[in-house]
């Protein structure tokens, strides 16, 4: 009987981590639905970017208020998780404060955790106020209705509750230590929970144990639930920001990739020795010709799909977007959210059917409209603004490629511009032979 809590704990731990692992594998599988792109070069620069942008939060602090609050919550989150290690060991072996033998250093650790937990709590409350009281515009764009809005708040509530449970647990523990209760050895230093502790004055040892154990269990179960919540939430960025900044595009922002399939065709057209009547090779005639551009998530590359899972919907991209600022329908954040939603839908389809079965839907039109795509000025403000190296622009451009090369569906003005380039080598209807007339005018 005395091992029942240990057994329940181990089962909860295995179930929590097991379900999470299962979902992480789904995410990896979904990301791999994307086309291949080589991001294995320049490992040193990639590590440096990850260290600076993800670990070092360098782009977060470009907006100082949000940036500093975020660093507090981020540091708190990482450091307080050291405490989770102790909780897990205690839970499995039925010990209590197993690291107490560290003595003075343990006091220091617990004191730091408490101060950080308090700061995280304050930070999260301020984040909540920014979202719900000050109502910063970027949290109230049209794409933030429903789940995205609730998701943002739920994460904050989760963190408030977890931090409170941690401090309540310590406060009750402190009371028990002072009462000299069995099992509750004198250890740790409690700079914050010593002020919560008086709330429990006069409680019996039994009730105190109930409070302490209750908070302890809810805290660790809460962490396991929160871990599994990530899969369903924008909060995945706490993990994916690292690979995403590592695999980010290293080229100058203005450089758009040259489609290789097109290069082959162009080179063939320009080759005076090519046989215009050549029959396609045996194996080629059977294969479906490659699609130009992207109409669905499978047409994007895996780095773009990783981008979509990494997006935490902060909206910095959208708030910097010239099209969005002037009332156009385009929101770069929505491009990322739509890509993730569609990818999730495709993944669920695969889970259900074993492999993807056409559902009559696609990213283009069912999620992202052409009006959004044609509003982009390709100015890279969204790419520059993203704190975790996401490029909404690359998805927009790939979808334009599909519209133009597969569907000939460019706005008519652009068709005129393109036929001008084709016919006379300039976007306007001027004769190429007049190109140096300016020198004589």
């Amino acid at each position: 009987m005395q091992y029942i809590p240990n057994i329940i704990f181990v089962i909860a731990l295995i179930a929590g981590i097991g379900y999470f692992t299962k979902n992480v594998r789904k995410i990896i599988r979904n990301i791999r639905l994307g086309k291949d792109v080589d991001r294995t070069d320049n490992k040193k620069e990639r590590f440096a970017n990850m260290a600076r942008i993800a670990l070092g939060q360098s782009k977060m602090v470009r907006r100082p208020v949000a940036g500093i609050l975020h660093i507090v919550v981020y540091l708190g989150f990482i450091i307080i998780n050291l405490e989770v290690l102790e909780i897990i060991i205690d839970g499995i072996f039925g010990t209590h404060r197993i690291f107490a033998f560290l003595g003075g250093f343990y006091d220091f650790l617990i004191a730091s955790f408490e101060i950080l937990a308090f700061l995280v709590f304050i930070g999260v409350v301020l984040f909540w106020i920014r979202r719900n009281v000050i109502r910063l515009k970027r949290f109230w764009n049209p794409e933030m209705k429903g789940w995205p809005k609730n998701d943002g708040n739920l994460i904050l509530y989760f963190e408030m509750v977890l931090m409170t449970l941690f401090l309540v647990m310590n406060a009750a523990d402190l009371q028990l230590q002072n009462l000299g209760a069995e099992h509750y050895i004198k250890a740790g230093s409690y700079p914050i929970s010593q002020y919560i502790s008086p709330l429990f004055n006069g409680m019996t040892e039994g009730s105190l144990i109930l409070v302490e154990r209750g908070a302890w269990w809810l805290h660790i179960l809460g962490i396991l639930v929160f871990l599994n919540y990530l899969y369903f939430s924008k909060h995945l960025h706490i993990l994916l920001a690292f690979p995403n900044t590592y695999y980010g595009d290293l080229k100058p922002k203005g450089q758009m990739d040259n489609l290789e399939a097109v290069t082959k065709e162009v080179m063939l057209m320009m080759d005076p020795n090519a046989d215009p009547f050549a029959a396609p090779a045996e194996d080629e005639s059977e294969a479906e010709p490659a699609k130009f551009g992207a109409s669905d998530v499978m047409d994007l590359n895996w780095a773009q799909l990783l981008n979509a899972y990494t997006c935490t919907e902060c909206g910095r991209c959208t708030s910097e977007c010239p099209a969005n600022q002037t009332g156009k329908k385009l929101s770069p954040r929505k491009i990322m959210m739509d890509t993730r939603d569609r990818l999730k839908e495709v993944g669920d389809n695969i889970d259900k059917n074993g492999s993807f079965v056409d559902d009559g839907k696609q990213l283009l039109n069912d999620y992202i409209s052409t009006e959004e795509l044609w509003a982009c000025t390709s100015c890279n403000a969204c790419v520059e603004a993203c704190p975790v190296s996401i490029s909404p622009l690359s998805i927009i451009l790939d979808m334009r490629r599909y519209l133009v090369m597969e569907q000939s569906a460019a706005p008519s003005d652009l068709n005129n511009m393109m036929s001008n380039i084709e016919n006379n080598g300039a976007p306007w209807p001027f004769n190429q032979m007049d190109r140096v007339n300016w020198s004589k005018e």
Binding site: M256, N258, E384, E441
Partner: protein, 263 residues
Amino acid sequence: MSETVKVPTMAEYMAEGKRPEVLFWVGCAGSFDDRAKKITKAFVKLLHSANVDFAVLGTEESCTGDPAKRSGNEFLFQMQAVTNIEVMNAYEIKKVVTACPHCFNTLKNEYPALGGDYEVMHHTQFLKSLLDEGRLTVEGGKFKGKRITFHDPCYLGRANNVYEAPRDLLRKLEVELIEMKRCKRNGLCCGAGGAQMFKEPEPGNKDVNVERTEDALETKPDIIAAGCPFCNTMMTDGVKSKEKEDSIDVMDVAELIANAQDL
């Protein structure tokens, strides 16, 4: 503005068996747009005054393909690119300078993979290098003390991290350089990029160029300086929409330097 400037072509150089130091890539706007042609001329005057041995492709130049590529027409882009590269490689071009950030970006970043590897400079970078080498002198002249704000072209700034060359040149003019609230990497687009120049904007409540012009007007400038023919058009239109065209000029950095010297 009716005055002929001497502009040698690559074909003429080739006929004489000579090679210029640099190819001046004029670009479509610089060749055909009435406003941009003035920028082209100003830049050519500066090249002459610095004794730069340069040539243009002239009738052999064709659109780089940038607006086609940003519209999604990769096919047309690569056709343009491969054709231009063939011409440039035949002339054994090593170094290219252009006054258009879109041409600059495309030539510099997107041509190499298709076989066109050149040292590509924006005209502000090139002028800066002439200045550093002592071949060009830039003095305040008539712009001394004027309030000037510089609008960063997206394809020069964010796209290629060139922020200082144009500013260094403006400082040499001894002007009062005032930054807009959104500048350098945070600079707001003029609204022309991504082929928007060639189409009507999508439905919205404001034009991007008006929004950007308001940023510029906040600095109470005498002159808005630009480094891109498309930005120039957009900002000029923006200033007109605010009915400020009588008091505020929109000028390219090259024009400012050339005019300061009364070239």
